[in-house]
Symmetry: C2
Subunit: 224 residues, 2 copies
DNA sequence: AAACAACCTGACCAGATGGTCAACAAGCTC
DNA sequence: GAGCTTGTTGACCATCTGGTCAGGTTGTTT
């Protein structure tokens, strides 16, 4: 039984928690970045391992040597993106200031869309396809998170800190408005005529969204 | 006598004695509907003529007989969607009531997303892919339309009818918020736990968006 | 330098891809 | 029913698909 480089060997290595060689790390990073771009643009079916390999500057066989399979690569990217997402979902409490929380929410979501546009689009493509890989996450973890926030939003409304709007629609509004600048980047750039959005543009948009949404929900920034 | 899964639709048509042009019309309609669904879910690359044919209940050859090529079919669908889009872009003037115009804008866009969710997702997939077929439309026709509206919004702001927000971001906000319920339907359903959004749900969402956005922009409905 | 693991890749495979085509069936007009 | 248009479809083609594999090179450890 020859123990040549094989998926099994890789799995063993990873399970052993070996601080992967520098080569492996570099190549995997390259492959993940390339794959995120291709999957984001063409969806799971539309992406080809060949195209990913070319974008990563490697032969197809080499890509498969590292990632095992197209499906595994896709799942891994999805998980990475969900991890980024979860990272910014800090807890809030009824005693927090609604204005602060909502602004932080908008800002962090906007930053995520900006820092990882390909990841955002990857997520969008997955949802467009009917969320075949994420159904569980959506109706489980994420749903719980939304309900938790919704409860707090309702309490704020009861205390007169904001209008009694349906919190779930509010969360969707913030998600969609921020996600838009990653997912529909091509449209945004085409219409504005810009080659790309500058930091200043993004700051302006963030300020606009914060202003409109907070005011629209009757949330007034706390006085100093 | 073909014994293979003969499309029920065609047999029905034949039995009813529907003639010539009617057959073409019926089959094309069936094909376009099936193709819209498949392209919407998997994007241009990810969609296969085979899958479209199966969804339409026809042999692949027959589909190609009617539509010529995959590319042609895709372009045709895109054009049909742009036509629907253009149909609701009526002109507005500075003398119109901002509240009425914005509400009508939100409502009609929401209705479009609801009436043609597959078309909306098809559009989204095209933009995700970098808008290879729509670049011209975006930076031409659509851009002009946005600028025209923007001019009027600014005039309203000057007249004190609304806050001086950047009109382009406002338009994007409305687009994204409404588009969301078509494009991210799988997410919305997963999180809300519903099987589908009822008319009442949609009405509630529309009312929410209208309320928040109008208030957020300092637009007050005109007094009677 | 020997041994061994990690890394690399061209050749190959079965199946799917978009598209063509020849042959035939069904309808319509005269 | 002849003649023509339209509709229908299985067989076929070159190319691409995800994935395997044998056999090689490189790097590290002893």
């Amino acid at each position: 039984m020859t123990e040549v480089a094989s998926p099994a060997a890789i799995r063993r290595a990873r399970e052993r928690g070996e601080a992967g060689g520098a080569t492996r790390e570099r190549n995997e990073r390259e492959i993940l970045a390339a794959a995120e771009k291709i999957f984001a643009a063409h969806g799971y079916r539309g992406a080809s391992v060949q195209a990913i390999a070319e974008a990563a500057g490697l032969p197809k066989s080499n890509v498969l040597y590292y990632v095992g399979s197209k499906r595994g690569l896709y799942v891994r990217l999805l998980e990475r993106m969900m991890a980024r997402w979860n990272a910014l979902l800090d807890d809030i409490s009824v005693d927090d200031d609604p204005a602060e929380v909502l602004e932080a929410f908008i800002r962090s979501k906007m930053a995520l869309s900006r820092r990882h546009p390909e990841g955002s689009r990857l997520f969008a493509a997955e949802i467009l396809a009917g969320a075949p890989f994420l159904q569980e996450y959506l109706s489980g973890e994420l749903r719980g998170w939304v309900e938790e926030r919704a409860r707090i939003f309702r309490q704020w409304a009861e205390r007169g800190l904001m209008d009694p709007v349906e919190p779930v629609w509010l969360i969707f509004l913030i998600w969609s408005a921020t996600q838009h600048y990653a997912d529909f980047e091509a449209q945004v750039l085409g219409i504005t005529g810009k080659g790309e959005l500058s930091d200043a543009d993004v700051e302006q948009i963030t300020a606009f969204l914060t202003r409109v949404i907070l005011k629209g929900c009757g949330v007034t920034p706390r006085e100093a």
